[in-house]
Symmetry: C2
Subunit: 449 residues, 2 copies
Amino acid sequence: MPIPSPPQGAMRGKMRGLLDMTSTLPATSGIDTTLSPARALVCRACSARYPLAAQHACYECFGPLEVDYDTAALAAVTREQIEAGPKNLWRYAALLPAGQDPATRVTLNPGLTPLVAAPHLAAELGITAPLWVKDDSANPTHSFKDRVVSVALTAARALGFTRFACASTGNLANSVAAHAARAGAPSVVFIPGDLEQGKVVTTAVYGGELVAIDGSYDDVNRLCGELVETDEFEDTAFVNVNVRPYYAEGSKTLGYEVAEQLGWRIPAQVVIPMASGELLTKIDRAFSELVEIGLVEAPAGGWKVFGAQSAGCNPIATALHSESDTITPVKPTGIAKSLNIGDPAAGLYALEAVRRTGGWMEYAADDEIRAGIRLLARTTGVFAETAGGVTVAVLRKLVESGRLEPTAETVVFNTGEGLKTIDAVAAQVGPTHRIKPSLRAARDAGLLG
Amino acid sequence: MPIPSPPQGAMRGKMRGLLDMTSTLPATSGIDTTLSPARALVCRACSARYPLAAQHACYECFGPLEVDYDTAALAAVTREQIEAGPKNLWRYAALLPAGQDPATRVTLNPGLTPLVAAPHLAAELGITAPLWVKDDSANPTHSFKDRVVSVALTAARALGFTRFACASTGNLANSVAAHAARAGAPSVVFIPGDLEQGKVVTTAVYGGELVAIDGSYDDVNRLCGELVETDEFEDTAFVNVNVRPYYAEGSKTLGYEVAEQLGWRIPAQVVIPMASGELLTKIDRAFSELVEIGLVEAPAGGWKVFGAQSAGCNPIATALHSESDTITPVKPTGIAKSLNIGDPAAGLYALEAVRRTGGWMEYAADDEIRAGIRLLARTTGVFAETAGGVTVAVLRKLVESGRLEPTAETVVFNTGEGLKTIDAVAAQVGPTHRIKPSLRAARDAGLLG
């Protein structure tokens, strides 16, 4: 597998800033390695190793860090142990960097969301193999972000942080604010000023600080990268900045669950929405890890990973289509705001996973996204947010173009809840009839044949 | 226990109409009594017995019917059997009227929702014993209605119905439309014309028929009572009309789950929102049943049942406060639309349960409801719809008035999701700061101390 190049230019400068910050944090890691299988942070680009602290970029090459584990500890985990665990993501605690002791968790106990059989959707798309929707809108704040936040904040607490923060396109904001409320901890959440009302209110209602920024998500993210260096934010864990390596691990539980829910099998094809690209890489990684540690058998033909973006923010898919190894940042537009990251931090790794597994990427325009939301709802009873509409629209395109094999088992990931982006379809759907409360009115409206 | 009087006047006329209708339905019950513990429908008022068909009122006295069980079959159910079951309400299938065979279920697999410890809420209210929030917003369409709909539609399919319908204040509409979409069945849902947009869109998006009625919920309900008698609706199960006895049983799973989640114990006090009053009576009934069949020990001091209404629709609480045995219907007003049933079908039974157990009822004004939503969110990370705000506001009042014992374990029920009634708090919460994306702007806004 080719090692992606370290980030260049502006990205490199941004990371250097974050590196300086780490020196102001508690010197000693609080991750309890007698319980946690995590052993180090390791650079995804150059493999340099660091202690389990609040650091997310490599001192050597500025590459992103990820958590490295004691493989013997992971290999000792059994299916029975997992199945006997709690009915949430903490059943996989023995595979996560923190939270083995339930008393240390900062969590809404997300996970173990439904894997929904979608035969009617399959039939409409001409898919003849089993098709499943992994419905992460069933999490406590109704997006997959509850997974990453639970792992990030649990690690953050172990590392000594007392205030919780994030840069967010909305779902992460909801989740961080709700987690902080449950834990009785202060939070400060940064969002672009133009978010959907559903995501603003659902953050603000939890009572923490909520800072709307006149700018894009990338502007918000840049500001958080600066704030995290200040003395005033020394006590503050930004889930997707200074504790990002732990945060990213939470996404792996989506892959673990799909495999467990399929009876400890990996599906032949997965279709995953991409914002930073991290979710896609972590689900792929979860599958690899399950095979490596012997919890599932490697499927005969491997698995193919497909990525979904919106036409308004498609830098990763564009790189794939143009056979490039460089992600060119874009200024995002369009209704799929939760995917609107124009400078995707894990884009190169998502490209690598899709190329390595023989998958593909596509992107969907706003009207296709709306149609995707409605198609999914009508055929499965799952009402997805715009990101889910993107994924279903891309699924359709992948079938039509022949990139996705209609005779192979497929799982599509719905990462969020339609109620949060209700404006996307509000103009398109509504009552089919409007009548007075009488039998005569019902008859006149054609309701009685 | 006194037997409530059968309904009088207009209610009696309405029921007679429904009785006529039953003759047009399939004559043979399809409930498989070799699997189901249900044996008959029995009148709650006069104890007359009927076969397991689509009938909901007594031919003798017009009283409402409920499902009667083979008590020996119920008593054979063990904790181990339940605990080994699926991670949803079907773990209690052996206690329900239908759905024992998984292939017969019409369901989104709701249930087993979180029982959330609420120490910060308890502290704010001066409650010193454990306080829990049973958070039914975690169900697939984010309200407790998924429970009753799953049981009703599974029974309806067994009884030969092929189209699914309801009269709804919103949550039920969402659930019936989503269940029908998952099952690939047609649906027709009737709602008052002034519902929250969140509930209209979340119903319409599933693609069934959605009929908005110029009138109140009670008008909608009356029209459905007429439609169900027509030839054109012979194939149609109205979950809360002609299959209501089965529907109501679904609510009992909330009581079963609370007991199981507490380690097979019944809490000393429960606070439950009331619309028709049915949910309250069924949770109380679930507790009684668990004791009767030996799955839990009767708690030393029994349990007290408390009911919560809004000031805009408080006919049951008003009857209690005025020591009356008659529910005087009201014309509902106020923001708690999911509770706005002015002529509550189970009101007398709710009164009976509250009086028998030594509980109480209160009601909350719109501003108190909004404050209740925010208090719950801020202290627990649970964002409730207005009905949950009602319940928390009433919890506060019950503590303040001394009706609820602050040293006794208490469970409050949140039956729905804040995202569906976002307008209730949208004007009150929002960003605490709005800045440009720069450190200087953050400093000027006071974010750096």
